[in-house]
C-alpha cells in the first residue's frame, strides 16, 4: 500500500473528496482554513465535483449546511473554536432538523484569553447539541473517520449531523503517512446519499423544522433524537466492521492500548492520547502494568464498552484537555456518571486537567499521574482533581507578570 504524507487538514479534505460530497459551505478560521483551501483548489481545477460557497459567518455556514442537507444533498463543512461557538445556535438547531451532514472541527482553545492552539473546550461545548462526535488521534483516522461519519449520519436509524474532531496544530498541521483509499473502494464503502423524504420538491411539499406548542411534543422530538443518537453505537460498529472489511483498518468505538492486563489505565481523547501511549510503553518498560483507553466516539457515549475495558482495574486516570469552570474535567464527569454503581467499575477514578491551549503533557507528568492513581488505589482515597502545571511554568508566568507590572508602573509614572 502506498502512503502519502498528509496534514490532518489535508486528510480531512481527502475524506470529503472521497465521500463525493455535493456541497461545501465554508468560512475560514485558523487552524481549519487549509481544509477549505484544499477543497477550493480541487473544485476549481475540476478534480472534485462538489459545489463550494463561502458564507459570511459560521452561523450562516452551518445554517446553509443544514438547509442543503434537508433539501437532499451530501454536505461537508469545517470550522474551529470561536467559529464553532459563533455557529453554536445552528449546531443545536440543525441537529433537531435531523439533517445528516459532516462537520470537521479542528479543536482550538476558546477565548478568553484568545489563543490559536488546541484543547477540547470548543468541541465540548457542542456536547449536548445532538450532533454526534468522533475524536481522532492520527491523520489516517481523520480521513477514515469522515467516511465513517457519513455512514453513521445518513443511516436511517440515526439521521443526525456528525462532527469529526482533530486537534489544531498537533494534527491539523502535522504531516503523517496516510493511506488514501481508492475512489472505487470509498464508493463501495459509502454509497450515494439516499435522502428519502428529507428533501424539498415541488410535487412533495413539506414543512421542516416547524415550531411546537407545549412540552409534550417538544419532549417527544427531543427524546427521539436522543434515542437515534443511542442507536448510532450499533450503526457505528456495523460501519467500522464494514470499513475494516474494505480497507483493513480497525476503528473501534474505543481504542484500547496494552489494556488487557493493566491495573492502572489512562483515559484520554484526541491526539494527546498518543503521548499517553508512549508513556504507557515507558512505564511498561519499568515494570508497571499501565494501559490506555481512548474513546473515539464521544457522542453517543460508549459507556458499555468503556465499562468492559475498565472492569476490574484498580484505578483509571482521566486526563481532560478541557476545563468546566467550577467543576473540572468534562470527560472525567462523564465517565464517572457512566461507571457509577456498576459492580466491576474501578474503585478509583482520578482527574487531571492538562494540555489546555496546546500546553504539552510531558512523559514525567504521565508517570506522576500513574503514581498518584496507584497510590489512591492502594490507600482507597481519591485525591482532588489536579491542574497540571510545573514549577518551571509557574516561574515563567511570574516573570511575565513582573514585566506586565513594570510596564504598567512605567506608564503610570510618566508625567
Amino acid at each position: 500500500m502506498t502512503r502519502t504524507l498528509l496534514t490532518g487538514n489535508a486528510a480531512a479534505a481527502w475524506g470529503a473528496r472521497l465521500a463525493q460530497v455535493d456541497y461545501v459551505p465554508a468560512f475560514p478560521i485558523t487552524p481549519q482554513t487549509e481544509i477549505i483551501e484544499t477543497i477550493s483548489t480541487w473544485v476549481d481545477n475540476g478534480t472534485m465535483q462538489g459545489r463550494m460557497v463561502t458564507l459570511e459567518s459560521e452561523h450562516s455556514m452551518i445554517t446553509a449546511a443544514g438547509a442543503a442537507a434537508t433539501t437532499g444533498v451530501r454536505v461537508f463543512t469545517a470550522t474551529s473554536s470561536q467559529g464553532l461557538l459563533y455557529g453554536m445556535e445552528m449546531i443545536y438547531t440543525v441537529a433537531g432538523w435531523r439533517a445528516p451532514f459532516v462537520l470537521v472541527n479542528v479543536s482550538r482553545g476558546l477565548a478568553s484569553p484568545i489563543t490559536l492552539e488546541p484543547d477540547h473546550n470548543d468541541i465540548m461545548a457542542a456536547r449536548d447539541s445532538g450532533c454526534l462526535q468522533i475524536h481522532c488521534a492520527t491523520c489516517q483516522e481523520v480521513l477514515d473517520s469522515v467516511l465513517l461519519a457519513y455512514r453513521m449520519a445518513e443511516d436511517h436509524r440515526v439521521r443526525l449531523p456528525v462532527i469529526v474532531n482533530l486537534d489544531g496544530f498537533y494534527l491539523s498541521f502535522t504531516r503523517e503517512p496516510v493511506e488514501i483509499p481508492a475512489p472505487e473502494a470509498a464508493g463501495e464503502f459509502l454509497p450515494p446519499y439516499d435522502a428519502a423524504s428529507t428533501r424539498f420538491a415541488a410535487s412533495a411539499p413539506s414543512s421542516q423544522a416547524v415550531a411546537v406548542l407545549g412540552g409534550s411534543p417538544y419532549s417527544y422530538f427531543r427524546y427521539e433524537s436522543h434515542l437515534a443518537a443511542l442507536q448510532a453505537i450499533t450503526v457505528y460498529e456495523e460501519a467500522a466492521t464494514a470499513f475494516a472489511g474494505v480497507f483493513g483498518r480497525q476503528h473501534a468505538t474505543v481504542e484500547a492500548y496494552r489494556c488487557e492486563d493493566a491495573d492502572i489505565v489512562f483515559v484520554m481523547i484526541g491526539s494527546f492520547a498518543t503521548k499517553a501511549m508512549a508513556a504507557v510503553d515507558r512505564l511498561r518498560d519499568a515494570g508497571q502494568t499501565v494501559g490506555l483507553v481512548r474513546p473515539r466516539l464521544l457522542r453517543p457515549f460508549p459507556g458499555e464498552r468503556l465499562l468492559q475495558l475498565l472492569a476490574g482495574k484498580r484505578g483509571a486516570a482521566v486526563i481532560d484537555q478541557n476545563i468546566s469552570m467550577g467543576m473540572g474535567g468534562v470527560l472525567h464527569a462523564e465517565l464517572a456518571a457512566s461507571l457509577y454503581g456498576k459492580p466491576d467499575a474501578p474503585p478509583v477514578l482520578t482527574s487531571f486537567i492538562g494540555g489546555l491551549g496546546g500546553r504539552d503533557i510531558t512523559p514525567e507528568e504521565f508517570f506522576e499521574i500513574a503514581a498518584v492513581t496507584r497510590r489512591a488505589a492502594t490507600e482507597g482515597v481519591t485525591p482532588p482533581p489536579r491542574l497540571l502545571y510545573t514549577s518551571d511554568e509557574y516561574r515563567e508566568i511570574r516573570k511575565l507578570q513582573t514585566i506586565a507590572h513594570a510596564e504598567r508602573n512605567a506608564l503610570e509614572s510618566e508625567p
Binding site: 443544514g66 442543503a68 437532499g72 415541488a202
Partner: protein, 305 residues
C-alpha cells in the same frame, strides 16, 4: 403571466392559497400582505423563515402553506435560502431532480431580523447573487415579544421599551437604500392595503432572477395600538400621507410607483394609532409633529423630479 396583466383590482388572483386559522393576530397587516403575495407566487415555493411572529404560522402538525417551509433561526434565514437554493441547483444539474420540481426560494422574516440581526446574512446573500426572494413584514418593532422598539421603529413611536413622553428617540433605518446599495436585481416596498401595486411588484420579482427583496409595511393592531378593523385604512393612510413611499429599485434606478398627490398631513396617519397618542394628549406636541411632517416633506422634495 406578466406584470402588465395586473391592470385592475379585478385582475388580481382570488385563489386565496394561504390557509386560514393561523395564530396571527386579528387584523395583522403582515398576514394581509402575505395572503396577497402567496397568491401571486403560488405553491411552488419554499418559505425559509426567521424567528418572528410568522414562525407561528407553521406549528406542528399544521401549516397554512400549500408549498414548503423551513424554519431556521433569527439571524440566518438568507443563509438557509442559500443552502436550499444551492442544493436544488445541484440536484437539478445532476438530474437527480427534474427541473419541474424546482422551487422559488422565499425568505420570510420580520423587521427585527431584516433590519438588525439578519442584515449581515442578507448582505452576504445579495453579494453572492443568490437567486431568492426576501419578504420582510415590517411592523416596526419586535412584535412577537410585545413590541419593543427595533431598528425599524419610527421616530417618536411609543413601544414597550420607549414609553417616555417623546416615544422612540431613534429614527427608522432606511433598509430599502441599504439593500439597494448592494445593487440586487430588485428591491421594492409594498403594503397589503395597496394590493394592485403589491401584486405588480411581486409579479415583477417573480419573473426576475437573483436577489429580489421586498419590504411590506405591516400595520400591527396590538403593537401600534389600533382596532383590527382599521388595518387597511391605516395602510392606505401610510401611503396617502407619504410616510410609506411605494417604490422599487430596478435596473439601477429607484422609481416611485404611487406618488401621493396631494399628500395628506402626516397627522392623519399618526392620530389613528395609540403608539402616537402622546403627540396629541394630554397636550399637543406641535414641535414634534412638525418635525415628523418635515421629515416626510423633505423626503418627497429629495425625490421630486
Amino acid at each position: 403571466m406578466t406584470s402588465h396583466e395586473f391592470r385592475r383590482m379585478k385582475d388580481l388572483p382570488s385563489t386565496q392559497l394561504l390557509g386560514s386559522g393561523t395564530p396571527m393576530c386579528a387584523g395583522c397587516g403582515g398576514l394581509e400582505a402575505l395572503h396577497e403575495i402567496y397568491d401571486v407566487l403560488g405553491p411552488g415555493t419554499v418559505f425559509v423563515n426567521a424567528a418572528g411572529c410568522m414562525t407561528l404560522l407553521a406549528v406542528y402538525p399544521f401549516t397554512p402553506f400549500r408549498g414548503s417551509w423551513l424554519y431556521t433561526a433569527m439571524a440566518s434565514a438568507p443563509a438557509g435560502a442559500q443552502g436550499v437554493r444551492d442544493a436544488l441547483d445541484i440536484l437539478i444539474a445532476q438530474q437527480r431532480l427534474p427541473a419541474r420540481e424546482d422551487l422559488q426560494v422565499v425568505v420570510l422574516t420580520g423587521d427585527g431580523s431584516a433590519y438588525g440581526m439578519g442584515l449581515s446574512a442578507t448582505s452576504g446573500a445579495i453579494e453572492r447573487d443568490l437567486d431568492f426572494i426576501y419578504i420582510c413584514y415590517d411592523n416596526e418593532g419586535y412584535g412577537n415579544t410585545g413590541q419593543q422598539f427595533s431598528d425599524a421603529t419610527p421616530h417618536a413611536a411609543r413601544t414597550a421599551t420607549s414609553k417616555g413622553p417623546l416615544g422612540f428617540s431613534g429614527y427608522k433605518k432606511d433598509l430599502f437604500s441599504i439593500w439597494a446599495a448592494h445593487k440586487p436585481a430588485y428591491v421594492a416596498t409594498v403594503i397589503g392595503a395597496e394590493p394592485l401595486d403589491l401584486a405588480r411588484k411581486i409579479e415583477t420579482a417573480r419573473q426576475l432572477k437573483g436577489p429580489r427583496l421586498i419590504i411590506a409595511l405591516a400595520p400591527c393592531p396590538p403593537g401600534w395600538d389600533f382596532d383590527p378593523r382599521e388595518t387597511a385604512d391605516i395602510g392606505k393612510l401610510a401611503v396617502a400621507t407619504g410616510v410609506w413611499p411605494l417604490k422599487e429599485y430596478i435596473d439601477g434606478k429607484v422609481v416611485h410607483t404611487k406618488v401621493p398627490h396631494p399628500r395628506q398631513p402626516v397627522e392623519a396617519y399618526l392620530r389613528k394609532q395609540g403608539r402616537f397618542a402622546h403627540l396629541f394628549e394630554p397636550q399637543r406636541n406641535a414641535a414634534l409633529l412638525q418635525e415628523l411632517q418635515d421629515r416626510v416633506d423633505r423626503y418627497w422634495e429629495s425625490v421630486a423630479g
